[in-house]
Structures are given as structure tokens and as C-alpha cells.
Symmetry: C2
Subunit: 315 residues, 2 copies
């Protein structure tokens, strides 16, 4: 499909963008990183990865502080928070080659719908669901604890085959970099699947100040996690997305076998950054409600987190 | 009904026992305080009250460290936490005159049922619902911020008139001490009414680390408080206790006009004391469930608080 090997741009190089960008660079791809607060540190010291799966890795990378300086990219992986998509949209467009594929490596619902109007009509938009325990230890320093898969689904764009070929091509890039990646025929379903994990664990880590191990060790929090997961499964079904049987139980068991992990929302809370409440809570709640499904525990968690978010950053 | 003026015993003199005991002593009643950790301080310095309603008050009081040393009391006001009723039962019996009236000034459901088997058959058991903003600043030092009413209802004992006369007599004691007090013909209903306040505010103060003013200032926590209140009203109705119309709205508005207040459960959490989860959450949830009524938000709050309670005091 490409006369030249694909050029990959990484927008927002926190834990997610940094990890996948570095893995792709290590595999020999031509990767370009757009950075903000970490630019200086990455220019001076490169990117470092301490991975329990892939070992230690340190690389000099092609880093930019301005999208205008980047070469046109065929693939753009967006690892920034969903809360910053509006400001990022012009930069994404600026860095995009004609017919570029933009992949939102973000959680929640509605992130593609929010970004789509700001993109050109020749651009493809995909969603990427990351199942990975990764965090940022310092500017340019990433720790990868476990897992790593990225599942891709097509959202919108000029593809004539519902994006099947592009999604397979994208999954192939990740696979070539040693990363598990599946093509998801239904992005909306895939996003609801990921919410089965994010809704309980992200929120409860903030609300209870607890990482996954203590949450999985206490009978009360276990019951609460399962009740929240069941609500998400019901919400998805009400919206027409019937999840695979036993999917919640599967994620529950995966989490039980994971190393102790602090979800990203906890780090956002500790650093008083905006919490991704719109995509992970408000939008799923609104869609389920519109489909006649109430999610009282999820709503309570959203209300409690909204209170905490306002307390973190008073207007 | 009494040949001698009633002798009043106060068991557990934290904020509640200390406040009401001191007010009754100020009014000239013969009041005896059973103390544990505060005994030394109260013997040396008496009891002090700083009341926004009644002014400053300081009194030497009749204090005891052992129930065996107390004279037989006609009325026993139990101000200790419901979590300590089992240990207190023998002391209550020891301090009780024949035909004594025991008043549980505690929140929640099931506290009388739990204590009753440990009392003598000649003893009357009443419940007292305190609508008051009061806390303990130091041993023997109490701050009263607002309100103050005690509503009394009869639970069980040898009264031939369902306890109507005794409840009126008890309310009369409080009224003689300048305290608002109503006789409640239905104690179970009165306990559910009080839960409409305790379920949201006690739990959310711990979960969100917030006192009443910030909880009442944020639209998310306001909605959550109202949703929790509505669940309690529904749970009560399912159990056959239909609350007065507009009761939840009334308590919500009362709280809006209150000075900023940290509920007692918050203080228990900060001092890593056991939280009163059984009486305020578990028992109402069990009764509503048995009546076919689910209270998902209340249950979630209970699960979250149970997690916090276990974290506060690891086994």
C-alpha cells in the first residue's frame, strides 16, 4: 500500500505514547515524537524504557516541540489524554501526510466523534485500546509492568472496505514491533469492552486511594468491582453491543494475575491533572441512559470523582 | 411516677453523652457520668461546653471509672458508639435501678435489638435520635455548633401503654434542660428518618474527605446526596415505614443552613476507630433487601466504607 515504509508520528509522549513509539522505533520504524513538557529531557537523554516483558531499552529519538517541524506522517498515534484532544487537533492535522491514519490510543467513548470534525476528509481515524500496565517515572523514563496489547478498530474516513485493510495494516505495524495487536471489527464494541476495566479500576483507585492489589484483596471492593463491571456490560448491551460471554470475569481474573498497578487516573489525581471523566464515565452514562439503562453505581462513581476533580483544581 | 427526682446516668461521654449530660446537670438533675479514657481529665477539670446556642458552660461533675461505683440510675443515656454496645451491656445493667429506662442515643437500625437480650426484663429500652452538630475537642471539652433536638421512641420493656408515658417523661426531662425533644410514636420510623441524614453525610464525609459545606456547594455531591436520600426513603417504605412527604428535602435544606460540620464518622475515620457501618448501612440494606428493595448507591457506599474501615485498622 505504501511506496515508502510508513512514517510514524507520536503525539503526546507520556507512558502510552512513549512506550509504543519506542517499541516501534526499536523495530526499525521511522518514528517522530511531538513533545511538550518532556522535550528538553528527551532531547538531552533520549527515551528510556524499563520493561518487565521486553527488558531495558534506551534510545535517542527524533523529538519535536512543534508540529510544524515534523515531516508528514502516515500513521499518527495519539497517546495524550482525551481531555486535551481539542487543543491537539490542529497539531495532528499539521503532522498528517495525505491519507494519514490517526489512531486514538485513549480510553472511553466519544473520543473519535469529538476529534473527527477537526480532521481533513482524506484522513482516516482509528481507535486503539491498550491493555497494558505502564507508567511514566520521570520525563522520558517509562516503566512497563505487564501486558501490552493494542486492539485497533476503524472509526471513519475514506476507506472503501470499512477500514478492514487499514486496521490490519496497523495491527501489522504493532506486531512487527513485538506487540500483541488485534483488529476489532466493531470499534464501539471494543471501546465498551475496555470500559469494563476502566470504569471500576480507574475510578476506585482515586476514590479509595488504592492500587489493584489491595482492591482485589478485599471482599467488599471485589464485590463493588464486579457490580460496576456488570453495569458496564448491561450498558453496552442496552446500546446494542453485546459483549462476549464471561468477558467481565475474564478481565477480573486478568487483573488478579497482574502485578500491583496504579491506573492512570490515580496519577492524574495525584498530580492534580484533569481526570478523564467525560470519556470514561459521562459519555457511557449518557448513552446507556438514552437507551433506557440506568447505571446507578457508575453514576455515583462519576459524581464522586467529579467532586474530587473539582476539589483538585478549584475554578 | 417517681417518689424521688430521677437519677440520670450517662454511659460513654464523648460529644453526645457529654453534651446532654452536662445540659441535664446544668438544669439541676442528679447526673452521673461513667467514663473511660476521659476519666482522669474530667475528674481534674470537669466538663466544658462551648455552645453556639447555650453559651459557655463549665461544671464539675460526678464521674466514675467503674459502673460498680455508680448509684442505681433511673435513666441511663447511652452516648457511646453502637460498635461498643456488647461490651457496655453488663455496665448498663450494673448501673440500672429497678425499672430503669435505658435510652440509646445512637444512629442506625438494630441497636436496640442487639442490646435487648443483655438487659433485665424489668428494664425499659428506648431509642433517642439526636439532631445536633456537636463534637469533642479534647477530653472533657465539647463544642456544640448547632441544633440539639432529641426525639425519643419506646422499644421494649414492661410498659403497659406501649411506653407512651415513659417516652413523654423522657422528653420532659430533656425539655426541662432546655433541649428540644419529641415523643416518637414509632421508633423504627424515627430511626429510618434519621438515616436519611446519616447515610449520605456520614459516609460521604469519609469517602470524599469533605464536611457538609463543600458537599452542599458542589452540584455533583448534591445530586449524589439526594439520590442516596431517595434510596433511604424507598428502603423505609419497603419496610413499611412511609416517611412524611418532603422529609428528605427538609433535611437537605436544614443541612444547607447548618454551619460547616464534620459528621462523627469522619472523626472516627481520622482517629482510626471502628466506623458504625453495621447499624447505619449493613442493617438498613439487609432489611430493605429482605423487603425486595435494592439500594445500589447505599450498598456501594457501604462497600467503599468497609474497604476504608479495613484499611484503617488492618486485622
Amino acid at each position: 500500500m505504501h511506496s515508502h515504509p510508513p512514517r510514524i508520528g507520536i503525539i503526546g509522549s507520556g507512558a502510552i505514547g512513549g512506550f509504543y513509539g519506542l517499541m516501534l522505533a526499536r523495530a526499525g520504524f521511522d518514528v517522530h515524537f511531538l513533545l511538550r513538557s518532556e522535550y528538553q529531557a528527551v532531547c538531552e537523554r533520549g527515551l528510556s524504557l524499563d520493561s518487565a516483558v521486553h527488558g531495558a531499552l534506551h534510545m535517542r529519538v527524533q523529538a519535536y516541540v512543534s508540529a510544524a517541524d515534523m515531516p508528514p506522517c502516515d500513521w499518527l498515534l495519539i497517546g495524550a489524554k482525551a481531555t486535551s484532544n481539542e487543543q491537539l487537533a490542529p497539531l495532528i492535522v499539521q503532522a498528517a501526510a495525505p491519507g494519514a491514519k490517526v489512531v486514538l490510543l485513549q480510553n472511553g467513548l466519544g473520543v473519535e466523534e469529538q476529534l473527527r470534525p477537526a480532521l481533513r476528509s482524506d484522513m482516516h481515524l482509528l481507535g486503539g485500546l491498550c491493555f497494558i500496565c505502564v507508567n511514566r517515572l520521570a520525563p522520558g523514563v517509562i516503566r512497563h509492568q505487564a501486558l501490552g496489547a493494542v486492539n485497533l478498530g476503524y472509526h471513519s474516513g475514506p476507506a472503501s472496505d470499512c477500514g478492514v485493510a487499514l486496521v490490519n495494516e496497523g495491527a501489522g505495524l504493532f506486531q512487527a514491533a513485538g506487540i500483541d495487536s488485534q483488529a476489532m471489527p466493531n470499534l464501539a464494541l471494543a471501546r465498551w469492552q475496555k470500559l469494563v476495566w476502566n470504569v471500576p479500576y480507574n475510578g476506585l483507585s482515586v476514590l479509595l486511594g488504592a492500587s489493584t492489589s489491595p482492591l482485589m484483596a478485599d471482599s467488599n471492593s471485589r464485590e463493588l468491582i464486579q457490580a460496576l463491571m456488570a453495569e458496564v456490560v448491561q450498558g453496552a448491551a442496552a446500546c446494542g453491543h453485546v459483549l462476549p460471554a464471561g468477558y467481565a470475569e475474564h478481565l477480573f481474573q486478568v487483573t488478579e494475575r497482574m502485578p500491583d498497578y496504579w491506573p492512570s487516573m490515580y496519577h492524574d489525581h495525584v498530580h492534580k491533572r484533569p481526570l478523564e471523566l467525560e470519556a470514561i464515565y459521562a459519555e457511557p452514562l449518557a448513552r446507556a441512559r438514552a437507551a433506557g439503562c440506568s447505571m446507578p453505581r457508575t453514576e455515583m462513581l462519576y459524581q464522586a470523582l467529579s467532586f474530587i476533580d473539582c476539589s483538585d483544581r478549584p475554578a
